[in-house]
Amino acid sequence: MKYIIIILSTILVNNVIFAQFLGICPFIGTSKKTSTAIGMGAAVIFVMTLATLVTWLTQYYILKPLKIEFLQTIAFILIIAALVQMVEIILKKISPSLYTALGVFLPLITTNCAVLGVAITVVTKEFSYGGASRILNLGESVVYAAGTAFGFALALIIFAGIREHIELMEAPKGMRGVPIALITAGILALAFMGFTGIV
């Protein structure tokens, strides 16, 4: 039950893009076509879950015992960068077809603030899913990350679908491109606000 609440809240109520404003750059950048959006969404689901697993273990088994938590930012960003590089090399070797599908998106993910944001959130923020508020344990953190990533993919794919239609419309000159996309995202965010309170 606890896990279902975490998943619902990360995908719908606290959507990473519409409520937390993380990962806006790839959200605007890779949402021109539905096919690119699906590729990016899949790559983020993969990397975010893996990165949170590794950074959680680093925080509790390396940084905390050595009392060097202030190095958190540096350690996490390096881990994410190394991890992305590693995933890229491994994918190229064992699954060339998946690599051609996700390959171009992987380097972009290093600077996706959603990945670092989630990694920092799960080790610093207290949540109260079913009971007293406390820091998440490993299982909950990984579920939180996976849910957030699915929320990102969902928002990206919905938005890409809408944007394909917007491109065909006659918007005023200054509005074309990014401005109208941002305003559409605002209306989508309004729709997502409707989920507030279900969890």
């Binding site: 806006i24 202030f70 930012t73 960003i77 920092i120 401005p179 995202a185």
Partner: protein, 197 residues
């Protein structure tokens, strides 16, 4: 001198990081709920930009080309940690409000972008000016957007309420959807002005 001036001022209008280059959207949307928050975020980023540009232009001959991006990230992350600790000590209230977005300066595309595009190719003095110009341009746009959202959303400016207490304000502008809509309109206005020139 003329050249230096150009390096400094291009960040304000011609190459404004948010309104023209569309970099660093996440902190822009998240921290502009009020003018003060937007300005503090901008100034924190400016400090990191100047210091990382300075160090990278000094270190550029020692960094091997192949591993330059990880090296840049380590330099940037160190200065972000400095900002984080200083803000936590001296302005804990603002640190609490900005929260997650202070460590996230590391992945702000503007900082890495300037390191890669400018500081790794130029000498120290122009790099500092470039960092300062870009940072202040970023701060200016964050402050303007913060003012706009604060005026519409809570009827105040820099925390000073100018509307009578019982007037209704357009609350949606301080909430998440308002951030997207406000930024969309500001960019549209800039685009329109650029085209009609």
């Amino acid at each position: 001198m003329n050249n230096n001036l150009k390096t400094f001022t291009k960040g304000f209008i011609k190459e404004n990081p948010i309104l023209v280059l569309l970099l660093g959207c996440c902190p822009t949307l998240a921290t502009t709920t009020s003018a003060i928050n937007g300005m503090s975020m901008g100034l924190a980023t400016t400090f990191v930009l100047i210091m990382s540009n300075l160090s990278i232009s000094l270190l550029k001959n020692f960094i091997p080309d192949k591993v330059r991006i990880p090296c840049f990230i380590v330099v940037i992350a160190s200065f972000v940690t400095v900002v984080q600790l200083v803000m936590q000590a001296y302005v804990p209230d603002i640190y609490e409000t900005l929260g997650l977005f202070i460590p996230l300066i590391v992945v702000n595309c503007i900082v890495l972008g300037r390191a890669e595009a400018f500081a790794s190719k130029n000498s120290v003095w122009p790099s500092i000016l470039d960092g300062a110009g870009m940072g202040l341009g970023f701060t200016a746009s964050l402050t303007v957007l913060g003012c706009l959202r604060e005026i519409l959303g809570s009827g105040s400016i820099f925390g000073w309420r100018f509307l009578p207490e019982d007037t209704d304000t357009i609350l949606v502008f301080v909430l998440a959807p308002g951030a997207f809509i406000a930024l969309g309109y500001v960019i549209a206005i800039v685009n329109h002005l650029k085209k009609s020139k």
